[in-house]
């Protein structure tokens, strides 16, 4: 005596379960993509925030104020934009056209900030240490870049009001980045340019600390 269920009943249950599971699975993927896309739209529309920052920075460039706070606030805004950009990279991938498009806007913004800091250092003797970080997202270099980025993040956290760090994608084909690479003879990544003079492969936060502040004294 063996208990048997009606085959039709079981097949029907399987079909319904399959349809529900597939619908839920695809629906959740759709929702997650929709949320990622909303994030992209927010960032894109935040052209506003970026534009405000750009105009703020440009305005600063035109006035002869030696007040460092405005620069630091602009730097904080840049950092937030950078954080949003990293999230976008996670969602769409580092090579996605939308990500690269935003990255160019961000690079432009950073470059303007960099020029302003240079000017302030020259005319107002602010003494900001500038670090330009060229990173790469290609193959093994990505991990090396992430490690170096980690050290730089830590370093910036230690000296938020003394150090300005600008990160550029070495492989991004963009005028500003190409110009920087040419001007400072950058032929590989990851690499940092300290105070526009010293090129360095950063392996240790202590070394970085010594070098940056030594270079700044000179």
């Amino acid at each position: 005596m063996v208990f048997k269920l009606k085959t039709e009943s079981i097949i029907f249950r399987f079909v319904v379960a399959f349809l529900i599971a597939t619908f839920l699975f695809l629906f959740l993927f759709f929702v997650s993509y929709f949320i990622s896309y909303s994030n992209y739209n927010i960032i894109k529309n935040q052209g506003n925030i970026i534009n405000i920052s750009i105009s703020e920075i440009e305005l600063l460039g035109n006035i002869s104020s030696c007040e460092p706070d405005v620069l630091l606030i602009a730097s904080d805004k840049l950092d937030i934009s950078s954080s949003r950009l990293r999230l976008l990279e996670e969602e769409f991938g580092k090579t996605d056209v939308r990500v690269l498009e935003q990255k160019k806007i961000y690079s432009n913004l950073m470059f303007k900030h960099f020029l302003l800091v240079k000017k302030e250092n020259l005319y107002c003797e602010q003494g900001f240490a500038t670090i330009i970080f060229f990173y790469s997202n290609i193959g093994e270099l990505e991990k090396e870049s992430e490690r170096m980025g980690f050290i730089l993040s830590r370093f910036k956290a230690n000296y938020p009001n003394k150090v300005m760090i600008y990160s550029f994608d070495y492989d991004l084909d963009y005028d500003i980045i190409n110009k920087l690479k040419e001007e400072y003879s950058i032929n590989s990544a990851p690499l940092v340019l300290i105070n526009e003079g010293l090129l360095l492969y950063v392996g240790n936060i202590d070394d970085l600390e010594n070098i940056v502040f030594e270079a700044n004294k000179q």
């Binding site: 005596m1 529900i20 997650s32 927010i42 950078s82 954080s83 969602e91 993040s153 910036k156």
Partner: protein, 420 residues
């Protein structure tokens, strides 16, 4: 590009979604509610209480058996003292009574299965009910179980298990686990796929023991072995969710680990011994429920380790990221908006996070469904939170320990050295 591990995670998640959908369909559309509402006392029953060093709980269990609402002439209670070293036998003897049909025996220690078999030999009832000496039941439980035996194919009816007044973290987590068990057993009953029957208050037709022998002596999960044996002979195991048996779950982590190690090793060994149950010949039990049970063990261990390590790594990156924007929890209140924005997009843009949220919603549905079935009134929300936070980690840990014991073929006794 999707990594290999991510692909495995999504495939397992899809299988999980399919399984929970299937179980929910079974329960919502195929469970015959009227069966569970019927009360009957037309069969004679014998409640067997095996006891070894149970002086703390034996009196309460005998009293609970006496209080079960069932005609006195048709209800017999047999207490089998399995060579206890404490006062279990003396305490049980106080309740020996011809009027109430309570008989008390003592024998040389031989393990729970041997005590149960001893009781079965002495039993006069058509239906045998096993009752753990540390448990007690709702008064109407027995009358709710008996109608299921009208079907000649039914050899066993399983109850719902509940933790009595859960105390401490581990008890609270186990309470929710039992609720999930109630839901699943009820769902499995619709496709005759129950493969675990709790020892606390399961009922069996005596004719099964006469035809196919009693509990397997020496088996560390003798109730599980019996359930698989019933299935292997092609009979049915039913479930009566409103028949609630309360038990005491270990309060200490070490004691709970001992219990789970025994259960899981017992499950693994018995499934191996009954591997013939796998496959299409045995219906949904063989081609769906048992394979998914096995896959879910490995999947849970893999997913927990993978997701936890990835989660910790992700959290670390998030903190670094926040560090890079000079976020300080105490100072920069204006940054909070950005923190929430980032957290929201960072989590909800990941399909696996949304799938996890869906599983949690299904869990809540399972638990509240079971709670309603059992007419359980106590508040369980905080216990649900503990379950969601810790159960996966605990489950994986218990299984990893059990795997180690299995691989090295270490001996596991029914009772741990300190009597758990």
């Amino acid at each position: 590009m999707v990594s290999f591990y991510s692909l495995v995670v999504y495939v397992l998640s899809y299988i999980g979604l399919f399984a929970v959908s299937f179980y929910a369909i079974n329960l919502l559309f195929y469970y015959k509610k009227e069966k569970d509402e019927k009360l009957s006392s037309d069969k004679s029953v014998t409640i067997i209480i095996p006891a070894y060093n149970e002086e703390a709980g034996i009196v309460r269990t005998i009293k609970s058996a006496l209080e079960i609402d069932y005609p006195r002439s048709k209800k017999e209670i047999i207490v089998v003292d399995d060579g206890s070293k404490d006062k279990t036998y003396e305490l049980a003897l106080r309740y020996k009574s011809k009027k109430n049909n309570v008989r008390v025996f003592t024998k040389k220690n031989g393990g729970k299965a041997s005590a149960l078999n001893f009781g079965i030999e002495k039993a006069r009832g058509e239906i045998i009910i096993t009752m753990d000496a540390d448990s007690f039941v709702k008064k109407d439980s027995l009358k709710r179980m008996i109608p299921f035996f009208e079907d000649k194919r039914v050899m066993c009816v399983s109850p719902s298990m509940a933790v009595y007044k859960p105390r401490g973290l581990w008890n609270r987590i186990v309470q929710i686990e039992y609720f999930v068990g109630v839901f699943l057993r009820k769902s499995f009953a619709t496709i005759n796929a129950i493969h675990v029957t709790p020892g606390a208050f399961s009922s069996y037709k005596k004719e099964f023991f006469l035809k196919h022998e009693g509990f397997q002596v020496g088996n560390i999960t003798e109730d599980l072995e019996l359930a698989l044996r019933i299935q292997s002979h092609g009979y049915r195991i039913e479930n009566s969710p409103k028949s609630v048996a309360y038990t005491f779950s270990p309060e200490k982590f070490k004691d709970l680990l001992y219990q789970r190690r025994r259960w899981y090793i017992g499950l693994a060994r018995n499934l191996w011994n009954y591997k013939r149950l796998f496959g299409f010949k045995r219906g949904p039990l063989g081609y769906l429920v048992l394979p998914i049970a096995v896959v879910s063990i490995f999947a849970s261990v893999f997913l927990t380790i993978y997701m936890t390590s990835k989660g910790v790594f992700h959290l670390w990156n998030e903190l670094l990221d926040l560090g890079s924007v000079n976020f300080k929890f105490n100072n920069y209140f204006e940054f909070n908006g950005f923190l929430f924005e980032r957290l929201f997009f960072s989590l909800f843009s990941k399909p696996i996070f949304l799938i996890s949220v869906l599983f949690i919603c299904l869990l809540v549905f399972y638990v509240y469904f079971a709670k309603r079935q059992m007419l359980y009134e106590e508040e369980i929300r905080i216990n649900l939170v503990f379950f969601v936070l810790f159960y996966a980690l605990l489950f994986s840990f218990w299984w990893v320990v059990s795997f180690i014991y299995l691989i090295f073929n270490k001996k596991v006794a029914w009772r741990a050295p300190d009597g758990v």
